[in-house]
Structures are given as C-alpha cells and as structure tokens.
C-alpha cells in the first residue's frame, strides 16, 4: 500500500502505468456510476456542509466507487480462501478489520452480522 504514488503532471487517459492497488481493476471495468445528485444530497446531509462546486459530487462519487471496489475485491479474495462464492458480512468485516484504511467503518458490520444470525435462527 505504501507504494510511491506518482503524480504525473501530464496525466492523460489510459495511464495504466501508475501504481495499481486493490479496486483499480474493478474500477476500470465499471460502466455504471453513482448519481451525483444523490452523492451531493448525502454530502449535504451533514449540516455543516454548505455549497459544493459542480464537479465536487462527481469526484466524491468516483472516490466512493474506488473505495467500494477495493472493499469488494478484498472481500472476494477473503471468501475465496474459505471456498465460498457468496461474500458474507463476516468476510467483509475481516477485510475491514485487517486494513488500516478502512478503520472508520469497523463497527458497521456488527449489526448486519447479528441480523444474519437472527435470520438463520428464525428459519
């Protein structure tokens, strides 16, 4: 992860030469994007957040997409270790706990793990 991040002044499209990281391949495959209006609304659901520039929600949207790809890609790897094709909350949690960059969402998974457990006991 501590690869040197090159910032090329003349970045054009198709700069596959820049450092690769988890989620990048997925991001390149992606054709669907988050609606920027929704991203903007979510950003502004924080009362302190005021005006945002026109391109800001677009960029934040792309950043979330990168983040999501990284998370999914690692969770997929994790579930391949346990030979399951369905990615579980447990796999997702393991990925989040073992990567420092995801530490702001460590407690998100817990309630979904409980929900999953309840569902199985209900049936």
């Amino acid at each position: 992860m501590a690869d040197t991040v090159k910032i090329e002044s003349d970045t054009n499209e198709a700069s596959d030469t820049t450092t690769s990281f988890a989620g990048l391949t997925g991001y390149r495959q992606m054709k669907t994007h988050f609606p920027s209006a929704r991203v903007k609304k979510l950003m502004q659901s924080d009362e302190d957040v005021g005006k945002v520039a026109q391109a800001t929600p677009l960029v934040v949207g792309r950043a979330v997409e990168l983040f999501m790809c990284a998370l999914v890609e690692k969770a997929l790897e994790e579930s391949q270790h346990s030979h399951t094709k369905k990615i579980s909350v447990q796999a997702l949690k393991k990925v989040i706990d073992s990567n420092e960059e995801f530490d702001f969402v460590t407690d998100v998974c817990d309630k979904y793990i409980n929900a999953a457990a309840n569902e199985t006991t209900d049936n």
Binding site: I7, E8, M43, S45, D46, V49, V60, F67, E101
Partner: protein, 133 residues
C-alpha cells in the same frame, strides 16, 4: 437508520456495479450488501466533513475538487488521488468542448445580438400568423 432510509445510495445502481466488478459466479449476501452500502455512505460522510473543514480553513464557502483531493490525502487515501485528478482533468476538457460549441454557434451566425433578436421576433410573428390561419 430510519432517517437514513430515504437518503441512501440507490440499490439498483449498487447491484449493477457489483455485477460489473464481480466474477460471474460470485455475489454478496443480502446483509453484506447492506453493510457495503452503509460503508459507502460513511465514506461519503467523512470525505464531506473533511473537505468542508479544509474549505473552511481556506475561508472558502464552496467545496471544490481540490478540497476533496486534500481531504482524501488527509484521510490516507492517497492512492486514489492520481485517478481522481485524471478524472477532474477529463471533466474540465469536456466542459471546454461544450463551451466552445456554444460559443461557435453564436459566432457562426455572424450576427449581432440585436440582429438575432429581430430575427427571432420575425420567426415568432410568422408562426403566429400561421396559427391564425
């Protein structure tokens, strides 16, 4: 969660993206998908808060893409930055092309604003007459 219900990311979009990035034979459990959505929302929120703080420090009222990029740097997502800068650049180019197109249409007509206005009135008049017939 109840107040977040109406303000979430669209499930259909998430599902579509997941099918695009996952290999054919794998998927997420229902709970994992919900957890993933919540993680994404949290990500948007921390980026929004951090960029807002940076904008405030610079005494700016509007959060620009530069603020977002500095926020990502502060939050330790430096590796996303080159790709996002590339994206910002392509956005800028698109905007430039659009602007050029708009401009050229006006320039191409070779008329002044008054002449164009007169022309428009003429057209209005013509169509009004056509309607009255």
């Amino acid at each position: 969660m109840s107040d977040n219900d109406d303000l979430s990311l669209p499930r259909a979009t998430i599902q579509k993206i997941l099918t695009e990035i996952l290999p054919n034979d794998s998927c997420l459990t229902k709970e994992a998908r919900e957890a993933l959505i919540e993680c994404c929302i949290n990500f948007i929120m921390i980026v929004a808060t951090e960029s807002n703080d940076i904008a405030e420090q610079e005494l700016k009222k509007t959060i620009s893409t530069d603020h977002v990029i500095s926020a990502l740097h502060n939050l330790g997502f430096d590796h996303y930055i080159p790709i996002l800068e590339e994206f910002v650049e392509s956005c800028r180019n698109n905007a430039k092309i659009k602007e050029k197109r708009k401009e050229s249409k006006f320039v191409k007509s070779g008329l002044t604003e008054e002449e164009l206005l007169a022309k428009q009135q003429e057209l209005f008049k013509a169509s009004r007459e056509r309607l009255q017939k």
